[in-house]
Every structure is written in C-alpha cells, then in structure tokens.
Amino acid sequence: MTDQSPILRLENIVKAFPGVRALDGVSLDLRPGEVHALMGENGAGKSTLMKVLGGLHQPNEGKIYIGEKQVVMDRPQTAKQNGVVFIHQELSLADELSVAENIFLGELPRKSLGRVDWEKLYTDTDAILDRLNVGFNARTRVGDLSIANQQMVEIARALTVDPRAVIFDEPTASLTDSEKVVLFDVIADLQSRGVGVIYISHRMEEIFKITDRISVLRDGSYRGTLNTAETNEEDVTQLMIGRKLDLSRNKVQHEMGDVALEVRNLSCGKLFHDVSFTVRKGEVVGFYGLVGAGRTEIAETIFGLREPSAGKILLDGQEVTINSPQDAIARGISLVPEDRKGQGLVLGMNCRDNMTLPQIGELTSGPFTSDKAEVAIFDKYHDALDIRTPGWRQTVGNLSGGNQQKIVIGKWLSMHPKVLIVDEPTRGIDVGSKSEIHNLIRDLAAQGYAVIVVSSEMPEVLHVSDRIVAMFSGRVMREFTTEEVTENNLVQAISGLSEDRVA
C-alpha cells in the first residue's frame, strides 16, 4: 500500500483564531482505500484541520494537494468538486424538510420550467438509504428523526456524489451499536471502491477495529502517524496527551446513605411505562438501553420537562410534584442534557455566563451580578475539568465539541445538586477527559451525591455504575448489581430478550 500515491496531501497547515493557534504546521496524507484515523484531545484541532480541507476555513499558511495538483479550497463547493466530502461533527439539517430534500439540498433534480422532479428525488434517495440500511424513507420529515437517524441523513448526503475522500468527524458519537455496524459497513464499502476515509473519533475500540493508520494531533501540532496494526492504545494515548493514562483506577465501593430519589410506577404516555427505581445517596445508577428505549425521557420527566401520566416521584422519602425545571433545580435535581448544542448551551454567550446561568440569581451583590463570584466559579470548574479555552470571554460556540460538553457538565456540577442526572456524559469527549469525568462521577457519589448516568456506551455504564437499570422500549427489563452484570446478560436485557429464551 505504501507505494500508492496519496489521494490528497495537507502540507504545513497553520490556522490561527483570535487567541488560539488551532493548527501549527500540520501535515497529513491520505491513500486510496485506507481509513485514516485522526486523533487528539478535545480542542487539539482535528475539526479545524478538516474544515480547512473541506474549504470551510482558510488556512493562514500551508498547501493542499489533490493528487499531484495544488488546490486552493476557497469554499466547500471546491472541495466537493475535487471529490472531498465532509460529514460534520455537528448536525446541520433543515428540520422541516423531508429526508430527500435534505440529502439533495441545493441540487434537487429538475424537470422543465424549474419544477422539482419529485419522483426521481425520492427514488434516488431511497437507493442511497438502501445502501445505509436505515429504518426510515425519503419522505420522512427530518425533525421527526432521532439524532442517530439524522446522522445517517448527513452520511447519506455525502454519498450522493462519487467521492474520492470522505471525512467523518465523530460520526458515532450518537449512534447505537447496531447503527455503528451499519456505518462500518458503509465505510468498508467505500474503502473497497478505493475511496480514502478520514475518521475522527475518541473511541479507541473503533479506531483499532476499522482504521489502517492513525495520525495524532496535540495542541494544534502534528505528533506523528502510526500504523494501526503495529501500535496499541497506550502508545496512541501517550502520543495524544503526552503522558500515560491511568485507566486502572478501580471502582471504589463507598458507603451509601438513604434513598435520595425514588420513582414509583412512573409512566409518560407512550414514551415509557411503569418505571420504578431508587437511587441512594452515594450511589451511581446507570441506565443502559438502545437509543429510543425511553431513558432520556425518564430523565426529562424527573427534571420537570415532561408531565408524567402516572406514578410518583419521591425525594428523601417525600412525594414531590415537579412541574418545571426550576422546581427541579430548587429541589436539588440537575440534568446534563443529551444534546449540548440544542438543549445545553447558549452558543452565542461566553463560557462563564453559560456556566453560571442556572445560579446567576444567587451570584449577585445588591441588584447587580457579581463578576468576581462568577469568575470564581468558572475558574474552579475550568481547572477541575481541564477546559481548553483562551479565557472565559470566549464565545462557547467557538469551543471544540468536547470542551463545550465540559462547560455543560461544569454548569451543573457547580449547582451542587443532590441528584445529578447526566445523559450521555462523555459523548464526544477525549479519552483523557473521559476518564476524568468518570472519576469525577465516582467522586461525586463518594461525596454523597445521588447520580444517574444515562449512556449508550456499555463500557461506560459498566465502569461508573453501582447498579444498572436495563431498559427496552419504554420498560425496565431488569436491574443488575455490579456482581450480577455481564456484557452478555446486559445485551440480552436491552434487546428485549428474556434470558431463558436466549439460553
């Protein structure tokens, strides 16, 4: 493979933003038919590098070659014309339009007089959707799809042209295991056609499963390229974060107190039914299940965003009614939501103001907000979570995806809740910070917080939970203690198969 000439080459790319040197002389080449991983911590510059390649950012220095020819990627269309397509980290779809319209946006097939050729549009779209093996069709409204399915629409969009290189920026962050399998099939298919794939992900197991080479960035500079077959997780991690990562920390069993939160026979329409569980002080309860199993909806109901149709919620043994998030917050319940951009962050605001938003009412002196108190909170969680930003004044929308997530987590941690619910806490978070966040969750529990972790990642649930609630299709299938749980019986429980039937 090494003697093949590359499809594209990036040479000494430099990109500076106000206050940040996001890329500092990065070079990279992509060969036909290879899957090339791009790795690095949150804010290392991965997305920025790809945006430079995709014509979304103009580099300050450096050259881009497609084959042997130097190309100035002055806009996304140029990249597309050169066969480079980009599947973004953040979704950018028009909710009100159908799947087909989204996929062919801007290039809808025409008939005479500029009329849209709907028939062709739908058949073409269905042909692509077939390749992706998804459960929706060309006419579905995108707003009605789950995040995972919206992601598939983004991918479908890239397949409309015959690409030479496809960039995936954290495509699996919100996909379930079965959807991942489909995605990997798509990638393998591209690969067999000689297409080069650049693949950004924080998930080591994926990287080692599907990639051929791994390039590593740290703080905007290029740290080297490794052949996947000749390296291992430790080496890559070391290259990424510049030190060895201690993953061996054992789960410390700590004293648990009384029941902090009890949910009895809670139902909410068709979303979930007859759900009961308890969370004790000092306990981490993991909710595991497929996307759509009703876990997020339970969290939202406890947080007052949805009205339950039946059942009770008890805090410290007292029945409570929670009609709104402010009720929940006042009672010491916090929710780190699943979709940070849509639900978690005010993207146009700066980092500090985002972090202090729920408690700004308390951070006042006289009628005015207190800068000092606010900055103190920001500094504390900035350090604790190792958030990479040039300062608190930076607009949150300009942070890298992982650092945005840390701002949301910091926001809710700073509220010192009694019950902390985290929905997909480490989506898009790099390995180093991920284990930091896991440790943090364990530490919070040790301090007496009752914690609920909703996650679609099995290793995560296994790693942080004291007890695991397995859900399928809106119902609790089974509860596991750490002693009982195995990967096998967990998978069975969340696919709705009862044990004896499988055995």
């Binding site: 950018s92 965003l305 006042a330 639900q343 978690g344 103001d353 938003l357 009628p367 926001k411």
Partner: protein
C-alpha cells in the same frame, strides 16, 4: 483576551463612526447647500437634536430588550397615543382639577399605568398562548389604536398645563428635560442588560430558548416583564412629549414602532434575538435623527429623507452580514 472582543468592539463602535461621518458630511455639505445661514454643528442645534430624539429613543431602548429576547412589539405607537390621551384627558377631570398641582403626578401615574397595563396584556397573551409576539402585537397595535379613536373620536385631546410646559422646557446643565429622560433611561437599561440577572436571562432566552428553560429560567414571566417595561417606556415617552405639546391627535405615534425598530437594527441588534446593546441603540436613534435633521438642513423634503434612511438601513445590514461572516468564520451556506 482583548482580541476576542475586538470584533464586538468594532461592531459596537460602527454606529458611532457612522454618526461621525454624518456630522462631517452635513457640516461640509451644509456650507454649500444649506437653506439657512445657521451652521449645522451649532451646539444649540445639537442639543435640540437630542431632545427631538427622546420620544422615539425611549421607546427604542425598550424595543432593544424585547428584540434581544427574540420578540418584537409593534403596538408601541398605539400605546404611546393611548397613554397620551389618558395623560391629557385626566388633567381635565373635575376632581383632578380640584387637586391643583397634585393633578400632575397623578395624571402622569395614570398615563404610565395605562402603558404598563397595555404592555402586560401583550405579555400575557404571548406567555399564555405561545403565539408569536409579532402577531400578538400586530393585533394589539390595531386594537389599541381602535381604543384611542373610541375615546374621543377623530377629535384631538388637549390640555395645556403651564407648570408642565415649564417643566418640559426647563434645562439642567444645558440639556432639555426630555434629553435627561432619554439618558437616564439609557443608563438604567444599560445597567439592567449588562449587570443584572434579568439582562443575562434576556440574552440567554433570545439565543437559545431551550437551553434557557433547561437552566431553570421562567421564560413566560420574563417576557411579561419586558412587555410591561416597553409599555411603561412608551407611556413615559408620551408623558415627556405631551407635557410640552398639550394636544394629542388620535393618529399620533403611528409608525413609531417602525422608527424604533429601525434605530434598534441600525444599532446592531439582531432580529433573531440573543445579541444587541442598549448603547448602540442610543447611537442608532441619534444617527436617524441626525439624518433627518441634516437632510432637512441641506434642503431635502420628508420623502427624500425616508428614502435615504431606508437605503442606509439596507446598506448597514448588508455590511453587518459581511463583517459577521468574515469575523466569525461561519459556515458558508
């Protein structure tokens, strides 16, 4: 960190640079084209200009907050007229006249209360029905104007109180009463928007309503407060203006909503919400008044003035878009 806020500073400074350009242009052009001998940059003339900016200016300041929220209020002109009618009519009531000077604060209070109540109606409808503020206030704009006509038919409502006229024409440190009202309102609202919880919440709601709800901000009551505030300011604007003029026509205040919105937008506030500044709106208000006065000074008629302001507005918004795109490296769509 200064470089992060540089684009912000440039944007907020732009309106003042524009004002400087206007001043220079009219001073020079005035030398050749002026219909009078008076120089344009005359201090007295400038002070008068500030005074004349006050009625729409006070409303525009309130509009800024409503627009940062992502809402809009089209009924301000009608609230302005209705409050003026209450102000002048109440001073003529028999029991009020028996109170002597005390009738003044009471009539002011009644007028301001009118504004707050009408604003509260807007706010409650927006909150409780969830209908878009544009539509709600489009309706109330027509409805409130109807009330004005029902009150006194086509007749003007008049009452001249010389104590009030003296007050309105008084000057303190060279500035007219109306100017003082404008500046004090601007100062208070600036503090509210930059230094208080309410201001912070306003930006958060305008920028991402869902995230604001998740942070425990009560969006409905917040809207209600802001509609009451802009109702109050519309009434205050009427109080300041009609204390001096003493007579209100039922058509007064028409198109005020559009002038206020124009000033806010010129000042850089986004129609989509989440971004904007009180001080820049003040700049927008002054810029418009300068244009009107300046064009009048060089002999243009009202139609030309409106045409020019319209063109400038579009040019400014276009420039703003270009700047934003370059500055923020946004995805090009």
């Amino acid at each position: 960190m200064s470089n992060i806020n540089r684009t912000d500073l440039i944007k907020q400074g732009a309106i003042w640079a524009f004002i400087a350009v206007e001043l220079a242009f009219f001073s020079i052009a005035g030398k050749f084209l002026s219909v009078t001998d008076a120089t344009f940059m005359d201090p007295e003339n400038m002070l008068l200009l500030l005074k004349q900016s006050a009625p729409i200016g006070i409303i525009a300041l309130g509009m800024t907050i409503v627009m940062i929220n992502g809402n809009i209020d089209l009924s301000v002109g009608a609230i302005f007229a209705m409050s003026a009618v209450i102000l002048l009519d109440s001073m003529g009531w028999a029991w009020m006249q028996s109170l002597g000077v005390w009738s003044i604060p009471i009539s002011w209070g009644l007028a301001l209360l009118t504004g707050v109540v009408l604003g509260a109606i807007n706010g409650l409808i927006v909150w409780k029905t969830g209908v878009d503020a544009f539509i709600v206030t489009l309706g109330s704009m027509l409805g409130y104007r109807g009330l004005v006509f029902m009150y006194n038919g086509e007749q003007p409502t008049s009452h001249l109180n010389w104590t009030l006229v003296d007050f309105a024409e008084a000057r303190f440190l060279g500035l007219h009463t109306a100017t003082w009202f404008l500046l004090v309102v601007a100062l208070i609202l600036w503090l509210v928007m930059t230094r208080t919880v309410h201001g912070r919440n306003a930006y958060a709601i305008g920028n991402n309503r869902e995230a604001a709800v998740n942070a425990g901000i009560r969006v409905g009551p917040h809207f209600l407060w802001n509609f009451m505030l802009i109702g109050f300011l519309s009434a205050l604007s009427a109080v300041v203006f009609y204390s001096e003029s003493g007579s209100v026509n039922p058509n007064d205040g028409m198109l005020y909503e559009l002038w206020a919105i124009t000033a806010v937008v010129l000042g850089g506030t986004k129609l989509t919400g989440g971004y904007g500044s009180i001080i820049s709106t003040l700049g927008g208000v002054i810029a418009i008044q300068l244009l009107r006065k300046g064009l009048g000074h060089i002999g243009s008629d009202t139609e030309t003035v409106n045409l020019v302001i319209g063109l400038i507005l579009i040019a400014v918004l276009f420039l703003d878009r270009q700047l934003n795109r370059k500055g923020k490296e946004e995805l090009r769509v």
